[in-house]
Assembly symmetry: C2
Homo-oligomer: 393 residues x 2
Amino acid sequence: MGAELGELSIIADGGMLVTDGLIVATGPSGEIEKQMSGDAEVVDATGRVVLPGFVDAHAHPVFGGNRVAEFEMRARGATYEEIAASGGGIRSTVRQTRAATEDQLLARALKHAAWFIRAGTTTVEAKSGYGLSVEEELKILRVTRRLNEETPIEFVPTFLGAHAIPEEFQSAPDGYVSLVIDEMLPRVADEGLAEFCDVFCENGYFDVATSRKILTAAKARGLDIRIHADQLTNGGGAELAAELGAITADHLEQTEAPGIAALKRARVQPVLLPGSVYALGKARYPRAREMIEAGLAVVIATDFNPGSSPTPSMPMVLSLAATQMKMTPAEAVTAATINAAYSLKRGDKIGSLEAGQLANFVLYDCADYRELAYWFGFPQAHSVYLRGERISW
Amino acid sequence: MGAELGELSIIADGGMLVTDGLIVATGPSGEIEKQMSGDAEVVDATGRVVLPGFVDAHAHPVFGGNRVAEFEMRARGATYEEIAASGGGIRSTVRQTRAATEDQLLARALKHAAWFIRAGTTTVEAKSGYGLSVEEELKILRVTRRLNEETPIEFVPTFLGAHAIPEEFQSAPDGYVSLVIDEMLPRVADEGLAEFCDVFCENGYFDVATSRKILTAAKARGLDIRIHADQLTNGGGAELAAELGAITADHLEQTEAPGIAALKRARVQPVLLPGSVYALGKARYPRAREMIEAGLAVVIATDFNPGSSPTPSMPMVLSLAATQMKMTPAEAVTAATINAAYSLKRGDKIGSLEAGQLANFVLYDCADYRELAYWFGFPQAHSVYLRGERISW
């Protein structure tokens, strides 16, 4: 938290002993060699940086189609309203996701999984929220379950039924809120399809009172809470996250000092998503420095999605964090690994290279970890290991 | 030029016939199949986009070391002056480049060449400018010559002796200008080590009068002209480029309407470098839309260098062009291929897929060229061909 974000424990000429998918020891390579059994397989990482696999704590990896037409409209100067009027926005992805079968969605998501791995990411949060009906939300969460069966990555499922009001409820949004609370949440909880519940808390989507109602119901069903807060307006989302004891408050582009203080009091982790600020061509990044100085356990994530943040690359997010939010490379690495792991309630299993943790690690083609944030636009991952096994994807 | 930048000639289900490294025909794949000889090798690009290899018309690919320490200082909020006082800036790279042998520089540049290829770039402009003495500038240009011998990429050499005043001439900058004009330029021209001459035209570096003097001397020696113009201040660099008949004026972050009009009158191509604006954390991008609307043949390039733009990725530059400069994906592709080729006086050989051009092309793992600018932070190149041969690097 706070200043600790900048304190990495770097072992020069380090070694790591892995057995049965778990880290057994780390230390100077000479020490590790002494502990090795004779038939151990040796991976030579000379001249390379070894880091924990990135933990991407805010992502929307299961969706149909893309939004490249809308992207082009935005480049031509179209406003948000013009894009919405042309059928763009979240609803465009909802239409394309509903039109896809479970197998089609899985095939697309497997492609995304390969992108994540190549960028050095080994754990990905996976939000629903492009279905917006009972069956379509469950379909997305079932695809997420299949991703866990069919890929080496761990996908952590989050139910985001309250992502937008679907077209068919436009004139009766309260009916959709009832559907989320009374039909979706019980099914999601009963079938064990999600660990977290998230809400897009924003006027015109789900206001603070409605968000409180949905998230309180989710807590009652045993789900932990994440909130899309203060992305477009400073509407009290950070304060709501604090009030409800959310694990994370995400986005926070518009959050100011009172919201930061509320997060601190309640020990809520901010999840900052600079990729969406960049991709939407906006200038106002969240106040990472103030959050770090306030002592918060800041997380950074891709927000991978087809509308506002079409990047699966955590190294790109490290670059954005350093150049646009003035986080140091060390702070960005902490925010993208151990802090992100804690925000997914997995800080005791992943996100660091320590005895007892899963052996999820990545070798990079550079000699200094800071180069991951410095060179940008291309991944430098040399090889990716999950539970001690090298992954080729 | 102008509105034509947005007009790509796309052949759906297209084919291309290549013989002896040259494109013989393009057209509907059915037509191409009829022209094929029986023993032709067939590359199946079904579901993929095929584009000309990117032409990166402004890059500094030969240098020693990196500037990751300075990058970290900037993330911590250090000012330009503080970085300079700590020994950072161009002079830091000059020290590291001078300290490297020709072989060491080549080894590093070969790594950069691999990065370029993986991102889909097949031609790269290569500036000197980190030597700043007769022998050290020649060393960089000789490394560039060796890159042309040892890699499949074509590197187009530019002499940039007037990149900065070296430390040893700090108290006598006129002496350095004389060295550039009277010793470096004759050697570079006589040994045929460069096609272009460039100057960093900026107060505190080489002012307009000094730049005019150097570039006029370069023209007299048969070199064509490029100018680093109006990057930090609107100091008349664009107007100087127009006055001297430069092929390109590069950067132009501070150029306003009169400078744009001057470029138009003299048919100078603007080379826009959004990567450096991004990486320096600045907000003022060059006015791409005004330049396109003025009818200019806009080029975009990486500015690949270890200080202000550590990216070799043209797709990253396409993303920056679309999201930050409001160029459409089509305009960005034109600016990164055929326009860039003309800016290197190679429009009749590269930058388009047409009969008679070199068969430099790239297959991408996407079905729509717009996806190259839309997804960001990772290259989507599937395979890269130079003169008809698939390159593995």
